[in-house]
């Protein structure tokens, strides 16, 4: 599971929990309101009735707040999704531009993308229906054109700019 999938899963769990809470609360409120209306016909001035009416008002208020919380969670999740889409698109553009600057051939571009996605030589070869030796040769050419030592540096080339902070002083 990727980091974003984990975030999404957590968000989904939170939404489900809030929804369950809201449903139980609405059920309780409807039953309670029914009961209060029944009491209303008997004696609306009794302490019992006034107390129950107060509890009902609190329950209704709880539904309103619960609904607000759920909507905020849903909107937050959507905003995250959208921001992620934008970032994904932007990163794709950066990679595309860089590949062009390195003058990679279309085949090398495909292999480069797959390598960035974390696929190994065997997987790339299977996906492209090519021999492993071909893929290995293509990767070597890509690394040479990019002027990097290997796959780790190749991937780091694109991640580096996304990481806001520099290397911590204690490490360097």
């Amino acid at each position: 599971m990727t980091a974003t999938a984990g975030l999404k899963e957590a968000g989904r769990r939170q939404t489900a929990a809030l929804l369950a809470f809201l449903l139980v609360q609405t059920l309780g409120t409807v039953f309670f309101v029914g009961d209060v209306i029944g009491d209303l016909r008997e004696d609306p001035t009794s302490v019992h009735f006034i107390f129950e009416a107060g509890v009902t008002a609190a329950l209704v208020l709880g539904i309103v707040f619960g609904a607000f919380a759920l909507r905020r969670t849903i909107e937050l999740l959507r905003a995250q999704e959208q921001a992620l889409d934008v970032a994904r698109g932007a990163l794709g553009e950066v990679i595309e531009t860089q590949f062009q600057a390195w003058a990679l051939t279309p085949a090398e571009r495909d292999v480069g993308f797959l390598a960035l996605k974390g696929l190994d030589v065997a997987e790339i070869a299977e996906l492209r229906g090519a021999a492993q030796g071909t893929v290995r040769a293509q990767l070597t050419r890509i690394y040479a054109k990019a002027g990097v030592s290997g796959r780790a540096q190749f991937a780091a080339f694109f991640v580096e700019d996304l990481l806001g902070q520099g290397v911590p002083a204690s490490v360097g």
Binding site: L19, T26, V30, F31, G34, G38, I74, V86
Partner: protein, 209 residues
């Protein structure tokens, strides 16, 4: 994508409250119309459940996300007819929420659901499922006072009201089934015209492998 183009299309997945209330009400109404016996504990219980789900959906119509709010699909019969005309000629456009005809269907459903639950409450004298269960248990154990109590405060006016409620309850329940059939037909026709799966957004969304 964040492109504004997608804002005009209906959601690829409705929010969880819309989905829960939709299917909860659909199953409960079908069960009460076709399976449970009127006045039985299950019938009353499902009726109260529908009332709660309806309340939740109406609260959500005021407080929920944009496409679930009433403001996203105001009742507009003229627009609904225009939309049906477009559908007949095969030219359909996208709406950010329910299309105008679907919106009228939603409001018709809610009005019928409100009527059918309120008349149900009048028929049972507002008895909660717990009271119904207690009464049934008492009668079953040979204590018929529950029935007498119910009959005792039955003056003419009250029984007249109950009788009317019963008539309305039955008519509206049948109307609900007709609306449901129309709704399903609408989804099929609309989905075909738009070349889009309209059921998936109401279930789990488009499944990406």
């Amino acid at each position: 994508m964040a492109a504004p183009l997608t804002l005009a299309a209906p959601p690829s997945l409705w929010d969880p409250v819309v989905r829960l209330t939709h299917w909860g009400i659909a199953v409960s109404v079908l069960a009460n119309a076709l399976v449970t016996e009127g006045g039985s504990l299950w019938h009353v219980l499902l009726g109260w459940l529908v009332l709660a789900l309806l309340m939740l959906r109406l609260v959500w119509g005021a407080l929920g996300p944009t496409e679930a709010r009433f403001s996203a699909f105001p009742p507009n019969p003229v627009a609904a007819l225009r939309h049906l005309g477009q559908l007949a000629s095969g030219r359909v456009r996208d709406y950010p929420s329910h299309n105008p005809a679907g919106a009228m269907m939603a409001y018709a459903f809610w009005a019928c659901l409100a009527l059918v639950t309120v008349t149900g409450l009048v028929m049972t004298g507002g008895a909660t499922p717990m009271q119904v269960a207690a009464d049934k248990a008492a009668v079953a154990s040979g204590d018929w006072s529950a029935l007498i109590r119910k009959g005792g405060d039955d003056n003419d006016e009250d029984s007249g009201l109950r009788h009317t409620a019963e008539e309305v309850h039955e008519v509206v329940a049948n109307l609900l089934l007709i609306l449901a059939a129309l709704h399903v037909a609408g989804v099929v026709v609309e989905g075909r015209a738009m070349r889009r799966n309209l059921v998936a957004p109401m279930l789990l969304g488009e499944r990406r492998k």
